[in-house]
Symmetry: C2
């Protein structure tokens, strides 16, 4: 098939372009000793943590790969599992290496030109987006070609990617939030020193956290959704194609999702041309990027669907629904989380009567924000099923995830400019323009982060529905009947798992933050002259606390997400696992949206007050909003995004073991 | 049948005993002008609010009754609906009238004797427990006898009771928490005056709130679970009996649940003899009461099962499982919420680093506390189904709810002694012994409240599973297949409804508290001499704010809980409603447990610090714990308990409309 060449070339093109961009950025020289010193501290901390994390999880992955091989009596799943783990780690790692070098370059160029700085940051983000999609597409496609007429063999890849992503997300999430909370609660609230002040001992750990959490963690998160969706769509396409017209059809249908992902990558490369900053309308920039990618992807899908399905445009319509869903998700996320709209303003106002009312209003907003996206989700799933059955649901997920490269570029852009702003402040840059430019860049970054978070929820939700379809086919179930007690039990336990999983994360962050706060307080108390800026704090000690806490918190969430579906499966059978997955979807979707949206809304309510609205910075109102923001941190950056991955780990392990239950 | 006489006599006996106790307590003269003045203010406020609430909902209930009659083309469901609403309101009202008269008498007798005071409070609580169970049992039994061979006619009763309970719970919950938060945040945190200080303008509203929320609201809550469970068990018993051996069996089987409830009432009366206070071991008192009731109920059930099922003891075993479930629920609730155990101590410790870490740890504890009770719940449901199928599940709920009268006695005891303590403080009683006695009584009350909350969750969860069984029979469904898209959509929307419903409640409490705080601050600022106790605050204004907010917040949650299942049902059919109910159970159970347990744990962490542990009262650590406690207020007293009722409103409306979907 000629299409295979197009697919492989899109994968290779994205990796080559990523390499070119990376060389261009890394070759840019930075002027400024102070900045480089801080940059080096961040870089060393981030690399050191990631290496420790890999070292910690490698034995676990290797043992699990061997167990998989033994239990399933076939080395292939174990090998693909290990490969999935490796690729997932690689995607996150490359993105992070670029990001920790891009931050200082963005900071440096913001002294001369806004557009230059924007491009540095955005292209660096694109390296992440392109690498991730390229590796994902090539990995799945090559295995798919190797697997030939037995595509079910590639399922291990998804499980490996999800599990590693879970580790990256959980570890990164704990690391970053322990540091962030420590820095904020002692620095901002108790000592009343500004954000990113170099006197604050936790400030470097905070910057490191942005990289290991928001870059490596989010990257691995979206990577695994990408892989899982693609695998599920291939499997369902193969089986439905088989039913519809034998092996030839099966191969064609299963190839369609791959082709759509490939054009999505081309579209993202193409859309890079459209992205530029405008001082007054920062949000538009992002919308334009997503819009250009979507239009190109839709157009190309039209032709591919026409070709593969011989004039039947149903698959194309479903891809359109998937793309439309991205926009609707993005719009409602913006509505509930940006301070241009009433919900965030209401949270800001309620800070006037203290932290408690601020927190309650934030929870109320988050709880409410769940409704419309879930209704949209349901409508999209229902329509797709009506159009093309189970395969339709998989294609919906493909449509949603086809523009991953563009969305991830934006997602990685956020922490890079956040870091750049931090470096400018910490290096005591005198240039006023640098501050202004960095501020504009950062405000775009916040919107981008919010949109990407809702994208990640939608992506993993749809990936899970696709995996569910694949599971149903793989387990040869004819029904999953809620009137059977084992299905109801599976369902309720699946729902409960979401809560138990979240509790591990909150507890880990709570404990880590507790230690961090104690350490930062200790340093302010014992290091003479620190408050006045006459002595340096011990940054390394804080990085160490974050690292240790993160590594300690890694395993409990992973073990529960592996063990729970297996226990249910082996005790009550495949149908109960179906109930388990359903109960998990029904709780994870709203929980993750609640956490992401509440967290972001608290953050932006605080920022709204900092723009001088209500009583402005430094007041009791502001202090209350800071507490809300702090509670929101593990909501939006630890528990929320980890829940995304939980459902896909569950989905892929269920799929892998479907035949054994 | 002779058993009918036993049933009717148990209902009548409970009401007569309640009347005797009520006369005894009301005839007790109170000595002390100050106490009587405060008592009168609380009484007037509570009665005024409840009357306004009834006035507000009556037109809604009447219109709904007429609509039901027209839509279902039968006046009977409309009439039973109205009757259910009336009985539910009556049960809550009687309990509250007794409670608002018992508080001052408890306060008065605590000056002379601990045991005297305990008996006054406990017997007053028992009036509520006995009235509620008596009215519930008599109401259902009489209608059951009237309905003859068509027991489905009594379904309206459950819907009426649930909906009215939802109003009572939501209204009471908003009222009490607005007042409580206002009183705490300005009084304790800002002004640093003690709890229940008469200078605080919101303090009377707070006491009123305990009565309209914890007494009338909780009473109506458990009442509706009681009614719904009984109705569901009758219907399922009837249909399963029909299948097993025709009309005679159907009548016998459907009568068995009624008989078990009747012996539960006798057992509760009997257990009154065992309840007395011991200064050192307050918790034991409660456990003994529940234990005595359970043993008696179990013994009696043995004989009834033996008689009705002719030697088949399976129903008896299921009743035993239900009773065991109560104990296990109570034990794990105590573990997660009392400060004798490590979870609450961990929350208290984390207050040392501020409100944010306190709140995160509280959430972590709440999220974790969900796991074991839900596993117990699942095991109980699964076992019961294995033993006797759908009817087994209904009987499990009957076993759990059979001891309602005892549990509710304890539940009502809590707010009475809480009020009594408040009256003693506000009336400036000089007697040290009165304070000590009131403190001992209150500490028992806190444990009782925690246990009753988890009881209410378990009760409505089991009631819902029973209603689900009845719905399946009524809709003549042969399966509820999660592989059908409409069932998955129903499931996800059912889960989402839980979040949206909670958002209404949080928003209502947040807004109400915001207004209350502003008003209390205003009074402290504008009323000269208030801070020094030289001038009286305007209590009535605060009661008015709470009332208005509560009435404003009544309808949105009620409308969504009625509309959501109807929309799903009419759009996608009965099977989708099955999915909806399942999604709702899977989210409500953990959400309600999370909210109740987090809320109580925050409260007790604060109380633990107030006993002088950690840094003790009046420190920054204590202030952080107070913020956690404040956030926990709407968790445990508004949203959590209202969720309980939400699922039963959904279950009973689905059952009522089953034939039309």
């Amino acid at each position: 098939m000629d299409l295979i060449l197009i697919v492989l070339s899109s994968g290779v093109a994205s990796l080559v372009l990523a390499l070119i961009l990376a060389l261009k950025i890394l070759n840019r020289k930075v002027d400024g000793e102070n900045m480089l010193r801080i940059h080096k501290a961040i870089k060393d901390g981030a690399k050191a943590y990631l290496h420790r994390q890999f070292k910690t999880i490698t034995p676990f992955i290797v043992v699990l790969a061997i167990i998989l091989g033994l239990v399933l009596n076939d080395p292939f799943p174990g090998l693909t599992f290990a490969l999935g783990a490796l690729l997932s780690a690689l995607a996150g790692y490359i993105g992070m290496i670029v990001a920790i070098n891009a931050n200082v370059r963005t900071a440096d160029s913001s002294r001369s030109s806004l557009n230059e700085a924007f491009k540095t940051a955005y292209y660096s983000g694109s390296i992440m987006g392109l690498t991730l999609a390229g590796i994902g597409l090539l990995g799945v496609t090559v295995l798919y070609l190797l697997a030939g007429e037995n595509p079910a063999q590639i399922v291990g890849l998804g499980f490996g990617a999800s599990l590693t992503a879970l580790f990256a997300r959980v570890g990164g999430g704990i690391f970053t939030k322990a540091a962030d909370m420590g820095a904020d609660l002692v620095g901002k609230v108790e000592k009343r020193i500004p954000e990113d002040d170099p006197r604050n001992p936790a400030v470097i750990a905070d910057q490191v956290g942005d990289n290991v959490g928001d870059i490596a963690g989010t990257g691995a998160d979206v990577f695994q959704s990408y892989i899982c969706t693609l695998i599920a769509a291939i499997l369902v396409g193969f089986q439905e194609g088989m039913k519809s017209g034998g092996l030839q059809k099966a191969l064609e249908w299963s190839f369609f999702p791959i082709a759509v992902m490939a054009v999505g990558i081309f579209a993202s490369i193409f859309a890079l041309l459209f992205v530029r900053v405008e001082r007054d309308r920062p949000v538009i920039v992002i919308d334009q990027g997503i819009f250009a990618t979507s239009v190109f992807t839709a157009l190309a899908s039209f032709f591919i669907a026409n070709f593969v399905f011989e004039g039947n445009l149903n698959p194309f319509y479903i891809i359109l629904i998937g793309l439309a869903t991205v926009f609707l998700f993005a719009f409602f996320t913006e509505y509930y989380t940006l301070h241009n709209y009433s919900p965030v303003k209401a949270i800001a106002r309620s800070s006037r009567t203290g932290a408690a009312t601020n927190i309650l209003m934030g929870l109320a907003v988050g709880l409410e924000s769940v409704a419309i996206p879930i209704i949209i989700f349901c409508i999209a799933v229902f329509l797709s099923y009506q159009i093309m059955g189970l395969f339709g649901i998989s294609l919906l997920a493909i449509g949603f995830l086809s523009i991953t490269a563009t969305v991830m570029s934006m997602s990685a852009y956020g922490p890079i400019v956040d870091n750049a702003q931090g470096i400018i402040k910490m290096a005591h840059i005198k240039d006023k323009r640098a501050y202004e430019n960095a501020h504009v860049l950062d405000s775009i970054g916040n919107t981008a982060k919010a949109i990407c978070k809702s994208y990640a929820v939608g992506a993993s939700g749809l990936a899970q529905v696709a995996l569910f379809s694949a599971f149903v086919e793989a387990a040869s179930l004819s029904s999953i009947d809620l009137m059977k007690p084992q299905v109801i039990v599976g369902l309720i336990v699946g729902g409960m798992t979401t809560f138990l999983f979240s509790s591990f994360l909150f507890k880990a962050v709570g404990r880590a933050a507790f230690e961090m706060i104690a350490e930062v307080r200790r340093q302010f108390k014992t290091i003479a002259g620190l408050s006045k800026g006459e002595a340096d704090p011990d940054y390394v000690k804080c990085i160490d606390i974050s690292s240790k806490s993160a590594l300690k918190g890694l395993f409990a969430p992973a073990i529960i997400s592996i063990a729970a579906p297996l226990i249910v499966g082996f005790a009550f059978g495949a149908e109960a696992v179906g109930g388990f997955i359903a109960g998990n979807i029904a709780t994870v979707l709203p929980m993750a949206l609640l956490m992401m949206n509440s967290g972001t809304a608290w953050d932006n309510a605080k920022k709204y007050i900092e723009t001088g609205e209500l009583d402005g910075k430094g007041t009791a109102t502001h202090a209350s909003a800071v507490i809300g923001d702090t509670i929101g941190d593990p909501f939006k950056d630890t528990a929320g995004p980890s829940l995304d991955i939980l459902i896909n780990v569950i989905g892929s392990i269920a799929l892998l073991f479907a035949a054994l239950f």
